[in-house]
């Protein structure tokens, strides 16, 4: 029974992984993303990585799940990315800016931001107005 389960699980996860691939290359035509990757400037270091899209996607699913994305959403989130985007997201997921509109500031940073707000360099506090 457990062997049956293992086989079913393997088949299911394989079909999930390859469902994205089937989408990218319909009916034996050469896919648009493949063409785009081929015409991209050769200097682009990611163009090689683009070919690894399918493997990257499985990794990305696990990476997003580890960062709190629910299992039911993660597939469609990853499927909506192009190969280039998936590669980029995988590489930057912990460094890229995350628009969040919140900041935990220490007092010194609070003072600095207050000054820069007044100078019009930043806009952290709703009560400040730039001098010019």
């Amino acid at each position: 029974m457990s062997q049956f389960r293992r086989i079913t699980a393997t088949a299911l996860s394989a079909s999930l992984v390859f469902s994205g691939m089937a989408y990218a290359a319909p009916s034996a035509l050469i896919g648009t993303e493949q063409v785009a990757a081929a015409v991209a400037p050769a200097a682009q270091p990611e163009s090689r990585a683009r070919l690894l899209g399918t493997l990257e996607r499985a990794d990305l699913v696990a990476t997003l799940e580890a960062r709190g994305v629910s299992v039911s959403d993660v597939r469609s989130r990853v499927d909506a990315l192009t190969d280039a985007e998936a590669t980029q997201l995988m590489a930057q997921i912990d460094q890229a800016p995350a628009g969040a509109d919140i900041v935990g500031v220490l007092f010194t940073i609070f003072i600095i931001l207050l000054v820069t707000d007044i100078l019009g360099l930043t806009k952290v506090f709703p009560f400040t107005r730039a001098v010019r």
Partner: protein, 328 residues
């Protein structure tokens, strides 16, 4: 509002001291305008209306952390696409980062049926989009590099004489931000801006590569007929773009319009002598019942692949093999 007006005056008296202290350190650079703002103050583009505000853009006040979904909802609702904050949060919010990443803002928009296209990092580009009737989603770093405060907002208007931008931002329906402060905070966020339009529309200032990326991304989730519209718009503006022609052909093929697909592949094949285009043309002609034309295209695909595009050789040879007359 009165609080907002009164508070700065208090700060302004104290500000002189801070200002003196802060200005000594890095010189007077802090008080200078950033480059694009300075250029706009010197001379605004003549073809740009001096002030413009799109008051009709809807407003979704954000809850804490969810400025990304709120900004996306604003842009989507503005073009009549579904803008459900809960669904958008599921699509873009990343719990561990307590925010939304730029790449997922693009994919989140396309999952609701919008083509998200990057805009050039120029203030004038944002204003041109607003004047053309498009809402512009921007990423700002409201804080500093070492103490970032990332924030998504939507530019809906500008006032050049007053030197201000008008944004749907946070819980403010009309947030006025001076051009100077906007440019500083925008530059600190990498000058990232996107427009979200239904397939078939294109931002007026989009660069060719960004328009291609937008349609390419939309093709991941869009229905074939809609994807064909997106590529059609790119192709109309850049008629000799190979990826756009291939995208149009592939989308039309997937939508069942084989004759239209053949036309797009024919154009791409003739303009670029691309092995991929010849290959897809061969397949499409075969599906249309044109065996002779299909073989001819397959021969061109193999020839071109052997000559200059080896990456398509396996597919081209496969196509040629499948089109060979079967031995009795």
């Amino acid at each position: 509002m009165t609080v907002r007006r009164r508070a700065p005056r208090c700060w302004r008296t104290g500000a002189a001291l801070w200002l003196a202290a802060a200005a000594i350190l890095p010189g007077c650079a802090l008080l200078a305008d950033p480059p694009q703002t300075a250029a706009l103050r010197m001379a605004a583009p003549a073809d740009l209306p001096p002030r413009f505000e799109r008051d009709e853009v809807p407003f979704f006040p954000q809850t804490p952390l969810h400025c990304g979904p709120a900004a996306l909802a604003t842009a989507l609702a503005d073009v009549g696409l579904p803008a459900d904050i809960a669904a958008l949060s599921e699509a873009v919010f990343l719990p561990a980062r307590e925010g939304s990443l730029q790449i997922e803002m693009l994919s989140g928009a396309r999952r609701q049926g919008g083509v998200a296209t990057r805009l050039p990092g120029e203030l004038t580009a944002l204003m041109r989009e607003v004047a053309a009737g498009h809402a512009v989603v921007v990423l700002l770093n409201l804080g500093l590099d070492f103490a970032p405060r990332w924030h998504y907002a939507v530019v809906v208007g500008y006032d050049l004489p007053a030197g201000e931008l008008i944004l749907r931002s946070g819980t403010e329906r009309r947030d006025f931000l001076s051009l100077r402060t906007f440019e500083f905070t925008w530059a600190r966020g990498g000058r990232w801006a996107i427009a979200v339009l239904p397939p078939g529309g294109l931002p007026v200032t989009a660069l060719e590569a960004d328009a291609v990326d937008g349609a390419l991304g939309y093709g991941r989730v869009g229905a074939p007929a809609q994807t064909a519209r997106a590529w059609g718009a790119v192709r109309q503006r850049w008629p000799v773009n190979l990826v756009a022609a291939m995208g149009l052909g592939n989308a039309l093929h997937a939508a069942g319009d084989l004759a239209g697909a053949a036309r797009a592949f024919e154009d791409a094949a003739q303009q670029h002598d691309s092995a991929a285009a010849w290959n897809n043309l061969a397949r499409t002609r075969d599906s249309l019942g044109d065996r002779g034309g299909a073989r001819e295209a397959a021969t061109r695909a193999v020839a071109r692949a052997q000559l200059a595009e080896p990456q398509w050789l396996p597919q081209a040879l496969q196509t040629q093999r499948e089109l060979e007359p079967k031995a009795p």
